[in-house]
Subunit: 427 residues, 2 copies
């Protein structure tokens, strides 16, 4: 697909993508899509008759005049699909509707904004955020560190997508700087009795994840079946689930991570629709395991993950960047529909805007892991291009996650998921 | 304090209380207070000049025309205190403002609604719900079951208030019936390899808790100091944190409870303001431990818990009720201000309406525990007044939690926290 708009060949936002987000416009927040090096302000576009050739959304135009994507998402997958295909049509070189935008210089001027000038926001009002642990290699690698090779995976791991409830309030958009968290850590974990000290986190880590936003809600008490689960998913973002490993090690028994994760979680601001990822379906790591799952988790589709190359980059204070990891979304043992089915099987209600993280996505080989803990174990430092070394993150480090599926000229990607670590807040 | 309104001596909603909630009125939801056997519709009250003698709220009257208490809570503790004291004045036998309501039959008729005719709702829009584990005896009792007496409490327990993120979407008001959850359980936990089956929960339990709602938010990155923490608390409710013990036992390693807790959490609909509980401050279980805490958790007030008798009642299908437990809020090792300080020490932001549960409140003696697991361990059945026995809850069981501080005629209580178990949803 070629566009009349000039789109760089390496852009994650090709015509094959059309991701949705929320941008600042004047003093308000409005829905937009990203395309090439531009955002299309959908509020300006809709109010100038941009959707005139799409009858299906005429009675829903108010969703484009909202500060979050919740109202649009709640319209359901068939509408998302129509809107995406219509916008692809509008931007195609051979568009059926040249009068809408291609030949409409005034609307181009008012609605197309260079991404370099755009301020993005968390695209949805998140009710609850849940983080899964579906990255098989990550779970294995972490298990080896804690329990050795033989007992690396817990007995439940291959039967259900393990998850915990996360903190929604501190989900922030790419570009938000975060203070290094402070809290209780064990300066000497071997001491007996164990006595904690108050300290800035000394083992600040990243977690490379994907996450999905929920579109259609389900009622309390009524599980979503595995066959219907995908239609409850709006789309995906990249996510960095920052983790304070030393705080986590001390606090996490018996109820799991809490302060170690609640200080910030960074997501990319553009939601890639689930339909945009359809061409990149791939067979998962363990097709045989899928067939042994309980029926409520068994998918009809054999290709239940995506081929999406992912990477992690670290840079200190504008210095030379280092790609420290190359991973792939295929490293997830469970799919997002399986996560939805499992989450709701007890009757738990998911609401529009809820966020479900995948868990850390690590490969099995060196330099493919999605966390520093797996790469260094706090023992073997990682060499950065600027000559420095890392066990964990230092103040001033900027971490960028990237992920894009497809090929040059037709990438379907997430854009950069960027976060910088500030020194601890002065108490 | 005597009132011109007839208030039963055993009412939890005496003039000393004045709790706030959200009730249905016509087709909308409005703020109200509970007093004796009535709710006062604050929207009707405010719009008829009920607050005319309280200058401090004149510019904020719109908070009484909202479907949640969030806007009122966000006004901060000094305003809550003034409004409560003003309403106490209005209802006092020797009110300074008889013209407002005592001698105003029309406003009494339009704004006072018998509680028996009131429909209550979750009083706040909950952003995030966090559940702590601050009940010392509960943590000890559960620890004994899993690890024996010598290692019952984990090494971190007396250093920090352990917590996990809970599920906000499924917090429901008292009176909501819940389907017995279904999910993965181990029919034979001793088998190797462990293979789960899909089943309705067979070990459905309760957890007797208190919970606080947050009023004033804090910014991401900026911890709330222990000295300021209480002013971030709006008030307290009773909470039943329903728990599926068999689902929990299988799923909870390594990240904590998830499906075992996400199908429903019941709260009382009337928020008892933190100021209303001030007269019931009491010394906690282990004053010595408080002094050994890290400074960010150390409170200046030595009386850092409340003397609030609590009880748990079970009834099956309208049969004879049985009080199965008598406990007390003094069984919490950590206070709500300590929970706020710990929650935010990493920089986590709390928002108006966030809910923080205390954890199960159990005594040390038989018949004082706040969960069935502690009372029966699934082995020693509990005898009910109707002649039946319980290890865990059966379909048709109605559980009522109650709690009130103070003495006859001046009770400050929460009202009933009621939930009934329905059979599993038919898949």
């Amino acid at each position: 697909m070629a566009s009349w708009l000039q789109i760089p060949k390496n852009s994650p936002f090709s015509l094959a993508n059309i991701p949705f987000g929320i941008i600042s416009a004047a003093s308000s927040r409005v829905p937009a899509i990203a395309i090439g090096e531009y955002a299309l302000n959908l509020n300006a576009f809709a109010s100038s008759g941009g959707f005139a050739q799409l009858p299906a959304v005429q009675s829903h135009l108010s969703v484009f005049n909202q500060p979050t994507l919740n109202a649009f998402a709640a319209l359901g997958r068939p509408v998302h699909r129509q809107v995406r295909e219509y916008l692809q049509n509008v931007f195609r070189a051979d568009t059926q509707f040249p009068q809408i935008l291609k030949d409409n210089a005034a609307l181009q001027k008012s609605a197309l904004v260079p991404l370099s000038e755009v301020t993005n926001h968390v695209p949805m009002q998140i009710g609850d955020y849940t983080d899964f642990y579906a990255g098989l290699n990550h779970a294995y690698n972490i298990g080896v560190l804690f329990r050795g090779h033989d007992n690396a995976l817990q007995p439940n791991y291959k039967h259900l997508p393990v998850a915990y409830h996360g903190r929604a309030s501190s989900v922030v958009p790419s570009g938000t700087a975060l203070h290094r968290p402070q809290g209780q850590i064990l300066a000497n974990p071997a001491a007996d009795p164990k006595v904690p000290t108050f300290s800035p986190c000394k083992k600040l880590d990243i977690e490379l994840e994907l996450a999905c936003f929920i579109s259609t809600p389900n009622d309390l008490g009524k599980p979503v079946s595995i066959d219907e689960a995908e239609d409850h998913i709006f789309g995906l973002v990249l996510m960095n689930d920052w983790s304070a490993r030393d705080i986590q090690a001390w606090e996490y028994v018996p109820l799991g991570p809490f302060n170690a994760k609640n200080f910030g979680t960074t997501i990319t601001p553009w939601v890639v629709l689930i339909d945009a990822l359809e061409p990149f379906r791939a067979t998962g790591l363990e097709p045989g395991n899928q067939e042994s799952l309980l029926p409520y988790l068994r998918e009809k589709k054999s290709k239940n993950c995506y081929e999406i190359p992912l990477e992690v980059e670290i840079t200190n204070k504008g210095g030379q960047p280092t790609i420290i990891s190359n991973s792939n979304a295929r490293n997830l043992l469970y799919s997002f529909p399986q996560m939805v089915a499992h989450h709701t099987v007890t009757g738990c209600n998911l609401n529009t805007g809820d966020l479900l993280g995948s868990g850390t996505i690590s490969g099995a080989e060196p330099k493919t892991q999605g966390s520093l803990l797996e790469q260094t174990n706090g023992k073997t430092p990682l060499a950065l291009a600027d000559g420095s070394e890392r066990m964990f993150l230092e103040d001033g480090d900027t971490v960028v996650l990237r992920g894009k599926a497809g090929t040059e000229g037709n990438y379907v990607g997430f854009g950069d998921c960027v976060g910088t670590i500030l020194p601890p807040f002065k108490l």
